[in-house]
Symmetry: C2
Subunit: 338 residues, 2 copies
């Protein structure tokens, strides 16, 4: 199977929204008047971001999900994406399920595959995704405004929230790496979180005009929160007593604390929740006056939201327990070159 | 050097045109009212598209040039791009010149680096580029029109043109592969064509409203012309007697035909011109009534254009000599999985 047959067979589809899809030198998108295009690119490398023998269907899902998660963090509505794919061989048994997983998620979000590239090489997936957000009045002269959720909007006194659950993807990764053993009933849903994350697109859209800042949690909660703090010039206090309930796997052990300690352990659980990575949840801030609106956004998007702390004027990140006493520990974010 | 320091040091720059550049979950672009966004993505893999030890400065140039060439083929004005980069190590001695080569070409075209991704992995470069073209009145109900040059617009009776020169990049590749030996005076400019191609952006813009169809020549003239023919439902006749003058290296041998045959040979030269690849010229069509306008577009953009044949109603590609007699030969286009 040659390059052009491969593209025609697996990656050429109708594009009712785009002016022009796959098959020319460029794709053409026409944003509606007054809309801005939100753009994000992610590259996934075999052996680094996924196991080379992972189910190609879940890989197709995840490759797009991590990009949709960036749109979610900006409150952008998905429109389209390009796919650049390096493959060792043009293998139909791999391409068919990969395309199915990819395009099923794309269809669920009305996100059209409009172009890309395929080549022979070490298995690498690069997706660039496009969404739209309304423009807004300029805040400063010469600087167009936007209704996108940005990392830079957090203000002292804002509440700090996270969506969904955290840390289970990392637990599953540690099982697959042979560092941990978990009962099947705990591992199976955790593995689902690792391999088929749910981008929080509906929540991101619902938070437009409510949240003051947002980021997606891809490299670990504290690391990604750190980006908000740096860009906003603020600090934060996080209540770590909420960490255990945020770990979905923890619910399995209700009433069996001894077994939880034996299987996972509090220290590992805290590490996974605070800096595990691969969660694809949203960490976001909102003024206290928006508490009801935040909960309503969570309900409307069928996404749990948990208030985990607050934004402070003092720079830095402070971890505290339920009584406000400091918690110490090293919770470095994932670094792709560390 | 970690991922974030790497991005901050080499790839974070002011973006006066974009609403938001590097540093958030998404970049934000706001096309002017009535403009469409032209989008193209290319992935370059070490060992497949370039030698791993190639000068990183020229690699940075080429990685963007091949994408700008796609915008040129659509007649789109460059706006911005994203860069996703997998690197074996975060090596400043490589990143510094790579970024310089990349950003020098970007600056020359007013094309802003607005986002991307960096990760550890086999050296792979994925650039997605964005340009703008004016919309146009819809040609069919429900199908927005465009002023972009498309592959699908060629009509029987149109003239067939190619820009610049062809085949020299392939000659240089064959020297680097040890298949051929050339005098330094011939090899040096040919290598420049291979490693630092010039995207024909100005010509593409000048051809808007004049050319009926266009494609960029990346996989070889006949292969890329084939895409125009397929998408337009037409055929073409190409005068191969023009091939020798199209090879820039041929000019070196003026008055020394014997030496040309010894160094390169007519058969190899023809192969390089017709299907060498890596040329990044434009192949395009225009009605005969536009001949003066085509030449004026070439002059205005300081880009030579050569009429090499014509579009026929009969499907297929016919090669002829100066007297119109058929020329036979196998000139397969480059296939990334062949």
């Amino acid at each position: 199977m040659g390059e052009f047959e491969l593209i025609a067979r697996y990656f050429t589809r109708p594009t009712p929204q785009a002016v022009l899809g796959v098959g020319d030198d460029c794709a053409l998108l026409q944003p509606a008047d007054g809309m801005q295009l939100a753009i994000s690119a992610d590259m996934l490398v075999a052996g680094r971001h996924f196991f080379a023998d992972v189910d190609p269907r879940t890989l197709g899902h995840k490759a797009l999900a991590v990009n949709l998660s960036d749109l979610a963090a900006c409150g952008a509505r998905p429109l389209a994406f390009t796919l650049a794919l390096a493959l060792p061989t043009a293998d139909a048994a791999w391409l068919e399920p990969f395309a199915q997983g990819l395009l099923a998620l794309a269809d669920a979000h009305g996100c059209e595959l409009v172009g890309g590239d395929t080549t022979q090489g070490p298995l690498t997936i690069c997706i660039t995704v496009f969404g739209e957000v309304p423009a807004a009045a300029a805040r400063r002269p010469g600087q167009p405004g936007t209704q996108a959720l940005l990392r830079s909007g957090a203000r002292a006194g804002d509440d700090l929230y996270v969506s969904g659950t955290l840390g289970d993807a990392r637990l599953a990764l540690e099982v697959l790496q042979g560092k941990l053993s978990l009962p099947e009933a705990v591992f199976t849903p955790a593995r689902q979180r690792l391999e088929q994350p749910t981008p929080r697109v509906a929540l991101g859209l619902a938070l437009r005009g409510i949240a003051s800042a947002a980021a997606d949690v891809s490299d670990g909660l504290l690391g990604d929160l750190g980006h908000i703090l740096t860009r906003s010039g603020v600090g934060a206090t996080v209540d770590t007593s909420l960490a255990m309930p945020l770990l979905a796997s923890h619910a399995h052990y209700t009433g069996a604390a001894g077994q939880f300690e034996q299987d996972i352990g509090t220290a590992r659980a805290l590490q996974c929740v605070l800096s595990g990575g691969d969660d694809y949840e949203l960490v976001f801030t909102a003024p206290p006056g928006q508490r009801a609106a935040v909960q309503a956004a969570g309900t409307a998007s069928a996404t749990p939201v948990t208030r985990i702390g607050q934004i402070d004027a003092t720079p830095g990140l402070r971890l505290v327990d339920a009584r406000g006493a400091p918690v110490t520990g090293s919770f470095a974010a994932f670094d792709h070159f560390a």
